[in-house]
Amino acid sequence: MTELAEHVAAIGRPLKRKEDARLLTGKTQWTDNIQLAGALHMAILRSPMGHAKITKLDVSGALKYPGVEAAYGAAELGDLNASVPCVWPVTDDMVAPDFPALAKGEVRHMGDCVALVLAGTAAQAADALEGIVVEYSALPAVINMDDAIKEGSPLVHSDKGTNKCYTYKLQPQGDGAYEAAKAKADVVVKRRFVNQRLIPSAMEPRAVVASPMGTSGELTIWSATQVPHVLRVLLALVTGVSENKLRVVAPDVGGGFGGKLQCYREEILCVALANKLGRPIKWTETRSEDMMATHHGRDQLQDIEIAATKDGKLLGLKVDLIANMGAYLQIITPGIPLLGMFMYPAIYKMDAYDFSCIGVFTNTTPTDAYRGAGRPESTYAIERIMDELANELGMEPMELRKKNWIKHEEFPYTTVAGLTYDSGNYEAATDKAMALFKYDELRKEQVKRRASGDKVQLGIGISTFTEMCGLAPSRTLGALKYVAGGWEHCTIRVLPTGKVELVTGTSPHGQGHETAWSQIASDTLGIPVDDIEVIHGDTRTSPYGMDTYGSRSLAVGGQAILRAGEKVVEKARLIAAHQLECSANDLEFDHGVFRVKGDPSKEKAIQAVAFEAFSAHDLPDGLEPTLQAESTVDPQDFSYPHGTHLCAMEVDTETGKSTIRSYVCVDDIGIQINPLIVEGQVHGGLAQGIAQALYEGAVYDSDGQLLTASFADYLVPSAPDLPSFVTDHTVTPSTTNPLGTKGVGEAGAIASTPAVINAIVDALRPYGVNDVPMPALPMTVWRTLNAARQGGK
């Protein structure tokens, strides 16, 4: 056998990603790169109206265009017009309107699918849309959520008789407990925060290819999706194609942020039509389609009330949400606010919590998961109201937090919302962050600028956040009426030459799983990182998995890798002991080598064991050949990363423009497998969280026209808009998983938004400003400042 590379401890090393070369150059298999002979290209005619009756639809004109093979409206599509599934009926009486892939007689948001054309090329299909005759009769649209729940409001679904989707309540201490806590309070602060609608805007738009493949009647669908496994189940259920004939492949996927956690209309249509016509069907969306038909995120009205004693001890918290579902329910639309429900009390101790949420339909693009999904909203509201309470009490905002947060010696701690946080050290992360930030110096400068009446004021924003991630213990999901489980799977095969195939059920779309998973397996098996190949994103090669979202892949999937690796080593130990003629207990295992205790000259590398397991000439009696093992792990609990984020903001009081001067964050995500990937995740998350605070916001007019339908109006920030981040960490291992890891994918996006807005409000506090709407674009800040100045007169 050839000389084996030696194993070097891999966990904790900032290795560059194995994926980088192909992802950064784009020389890889994106879905749109897949070219199949005989493919038909799909183009979709979308509603330009927010709400209208379709009074006439004639697709026959499209058939006269060159290269067109077929055109369909709902009438032509007939039984193939399957409905988009929602898998989270949050209450027994939830209103769940039908969501057909092609609209049946009525369009309910701009971008709703009306008709489609299939042609030989994408250009021919796009051209032929002009041949479709469609006439609309406008219906009154409802956009604003407060309006939607008023009596007499126009209805998004007139057959339902209401725009309310559901009402959900959580009162862990019982009805009246909050009121009792409030009765004891010296100070009660109430605010309405608007957590605006965002558009996920992944770099790669959605794309689908569906095709009959092979001789077995199999249908393969390639999709730019985060969830090939979930998608297979759902496509089988809604299209009627047998699940064991459906293969779903997620090739390299260029970002998702939740926007590709879905079973989309276009995916359903491609599968149904490929199955009917026996030909490949391909569809790649334009950026314009992405803006209006890929699901949106956030969009909640948050009425929040906090009660405290005059010395700053929190007593209770009441949260009443109105959450925008959009026009229809998609995969987990109604559940998103409930993912935030448990996190409003955040890191703070108090006596009573009262939560309610009303889900509302409007004539807008459906909402669903977007980076953080529920927790950015809750974190924003609690961290904002803590600053407002501090102001009301005349306390330094960090002191108020310190007074109320769970102390490190109090873990595990069961919060007022009913979650048990396993670990954390808010003191350590905060001390480190404040030192890096030079908090006291900045406060001194702030005093000076206020005194001198500087046109550019300085503000300091705090966010001491935590989040729940690592979706999720299956029983918990069941209790919340979510239909699927939260386990994850891994298979590890050590091949005869000592190389490893690691099959994971997670589905990376930019996260770097191939590198990080190799690092975990490397240390478990004692085999070098470069000898490990990670296989993912294909239901044929990795048949079991729950995919990638909710910062779950490492927190849950990592456990399956560890366990599968341990099983491999257990089996290898039996073979090594047999061949070294000792008992399995007499073997040490170190850096991939089994050695007999007390006689280190007798040793066998795991790679050699793999060959013995393959040749099977001399295995212990009853032991099966091959060296492989699999593990499916259901997590014991969520994980609770936390951190302290600090933002120094300069606000130009003449123009209203806010410029971040410095941003420091110290995150505690437990044990880090690859610190370089962690830093990348934090940077990207910060960018998206800051984007919500300062730049991004989807805007509709009263007719349901999306006014921010391109990047000229929907402002996704780029590098020059962002400061150089100072990131650091503390390490408090999770105690509920054996790797001690927590999630990091969403931390930056969850933590940063309130830090930024708190900083702007802090800068403008002397003028009487006590809130700034998001995104805090210059005109908005200028108007807020003017209103406060006039209010003060």
Binding site: D127, T286, L715, S718, L777, P778, R783
Partner: protein, 285 residues
């Protein structure tokens, strides 16, 4: 990107380009860097019959020092313009403003002439040529003509360049001794369009402003000179407070639009603030 069908020609000379435009009829369009045209094609807001690509016409490229003026070929890229020693030395205002146009990718593709001929009210460069009293040379089937910058911009996306004409070059007189310039751009994100932009050239003599030329971006359908501020600044001492006072009339004669970035009231407020900042910067305050 799937635009409507169009023909495409790439002439080698201005005469060939003019002939191709004429042959293509009313729906023919000029393309150079494509940074304005491609988005229109992508959204099918433009459906030209023929695109006449002028990016490779030698006469339309290059930057020349004429002694008292500088001539820039219309098809010079923003990148070429902002990195030209001639421009940096003699027309610094243009170099500075060009450096604020969009992002590096766009600056490498987009052209100076294209940005002017497109006539976008939010484009940065129209205000610069207006402030500097540039002359634009237009070629057509009836020959060539020179148009002053003040007569070049006619309305939203409409300039003096006719359907079978082409912008060939731009000649900008050098400013003499004592002049300072500044382009102050206010935008919402670093790569975004100007909400308001102010191109200012100010002559200072003996601590006083003796002459000022100020043009505003995105304050009307076309770039406009802030002539009342120009008058008000004459003889004013070079001090922030004096300049601020003189800039209070910046919105006079403008027709501010309301959009997501700024309503009329805010935009007019910005005109005053940004004008004061641009003039102060140009005057070295």
């Amino acid at each position: 990107m799937i635009p409507s069908k169009f023909d495409y020609v790439r002439p080698k000379s201005v005469d060939e380009a003019v002939a191709a435009l004429k042959a293509g009829g009313e729906d023919s369009k000029v393309i150079a860097g494509g940074q304005s045209m491609l988005p229109l094609l992508r959204l099918r807001l433009a459906a030209p019959s023929v695109l006449v690509d002028c990016a490779r016409i030698d006469e339309m490229k290059g930057i020349k020092d004429n002694g008292d003026s500088v001539t820039i070929g219309a098809a010079s890229t923003h990148w070429d313009v902002m990195n030209s020693d001639i421009v940096k030395t003699h027309v610094k205002l243009l170099a500075d403003a060009t450096a604020t146009v969009a992002d590096p990718q766009i600056r490498h593709r987009g052209t100076f002439g294209g940005a002017l001929a497109h006539g976008d009210p939010a484009g940065d460069l129209p205000a610069v040529v207006l402030a500097l009293d540039a002359t634009l040379e237009i070629a057509g089937s009836k020959g060539r003509r020179q148009v002053a910058a003040k007569d070049f911009f006619l309305d939203y996306f409409t300039t003096a360049v006719g359907p079978d004409e082409i912008l060939v070059s731009i000649t900008i007189p050098k400013l003499g001794k004592g002049w300072g310039t500044c382009y102050e751009k206010f935008n919402r994100s670093a790569n975004g369009w100007a909400v308001v932009g102010v191109a200012a050239a100010v002559k200072v003599d003996g601590g006083k402003i003796t002459e000022a030329r100020i043009a505003l971006t995105n304050c009307a359908a076309i770039p406009v000179r802030a002539s009342s501020v120009e008058s008000a600044l004459k003889g004013v001492a070079v001090s922030a407070s004096e300049i601020e006072k003189a800039s209070q009339s910046a919105a006079d004669g403008t027709r501010a639009t309301s959009d997501l970035a700024a309503d009329k009231e805010y935009r007019e407020h910005l005109m005053r603030v940004i004008t004061a900042r641009a003039v102060s910067c140009a005057a070295g305050v």
